[in-house]
Amino acid sequence: MAHPLPPGLVPSEVAFLAEMEHVTVIPRQRLAGLELLGGTTPALNPPFPVPLPLWLALLLKRQKRANISPPPWLSVDGLSHILDFETDERTADLFSPSPELSDPTSTAPLDGDAYLAHEALELSPPFLKDAATARAQPDALPYHWLELGHLLLTHAADDFEDPDTVRRLLRDLREVRMSKLRKGFRVLGPGAGVKMNGVGGMEVAEVRGFVGGVVDGMRKINKSREESRREQEAEDRENGLESSSYREDEDDDMLS
């Protein structure tokens, strides 16, 4: 049946989720902590920087109540370093790795439950803390790098030292990575996938429809072969190997 929406997140949804990322904000005015569903935001006390969700930071920025300090990777140095890694011949097949996983901390809200203990929690890219705050790793792209970079550059361009160069580097990076991703399509097959380590959320959302379609189409063409292989395996398991050739002949007779 036809579904109204394609499976997976569409780009606008990915971008919506990106606004939950925390960025470092340097407040210009006092503001008490806000009681939000996701927890209370820290009180703003100029000039001490605090981490805030991106959507709130952009709102305050628009009202000229705060400045956003861009994450270290979103700088001329950080981006050119990453771009060098992406274009280097030795690492030409790789995407620049995502930030290192942080050690589990002991600030778990649900301590006492063995399953929810922070030692058992393994955080992976979309849920990494501090991926876009001023404490972020300078030489790694977080999961939402494209969305964050774009939003910060459009709405808080005056907080950058050199917004035009950063913008240009970001565009270069996007193109380099996109062409790598396209190169990766060549290894697609009925049972094969592209290795997408380090690929950002927006990039995944962009190619999901196509990659899914190709793999699905090839799987359909390969279906008959797959089925006969599976039957063969099942029979081999049942009868032992010596009788399998006989069964194969029988199958051929039935089909012709």
Partner: protein
Amino acid sequence: MAYYSPESILTDSQKAPCTFELGVPGLSPLNNGSAIEKGTKLDLPLWMAEMLAVSKPAGPSSASLASLDMPSALGQRVMNALKADPKSVDVRAQAQWFYGLGERMLELFEEEEMVDVLLDSFKQRALEIADKAQNTRNVQKGGDNDFMGGLDEAERQLFRAAHDGSSAVRKWFDNSSRS
């Protein structure tokens, strides 16, 4: 095959040549009213052809009602052309749902080589589609209408998926820079 999917219904309504092994008086409406005798050749929709080829009439003879032949869309000539250069073949002229037809025929015939040829051409053409979907202006202007016009329905869906993905990203970029 999904029951509610118009695509699989349309795929199954594509014609495949059949040769009747027996005279079947009851099926004369299929042959424009004239009688069906032994050896009559007819192009029948895939779903019916499959039923006739698989079903065995009750009686002394063990032959099935009709035998199914490979449609010319999947014939040796097309396979050779696909092997030579997948991108130059007008697949749509062969069958509207070319890969669907291939998939259904491969369920009935065991053709290892055809699986390879179809897989390879689907992949080669998919890569080309991905490139074409990036700059649609070229396609609309008619720069490469040969290739685009020759896509079968499955490939058109692929084109649309690739194009929708990048245009959704572009749309978000535009919207978020405006507000």
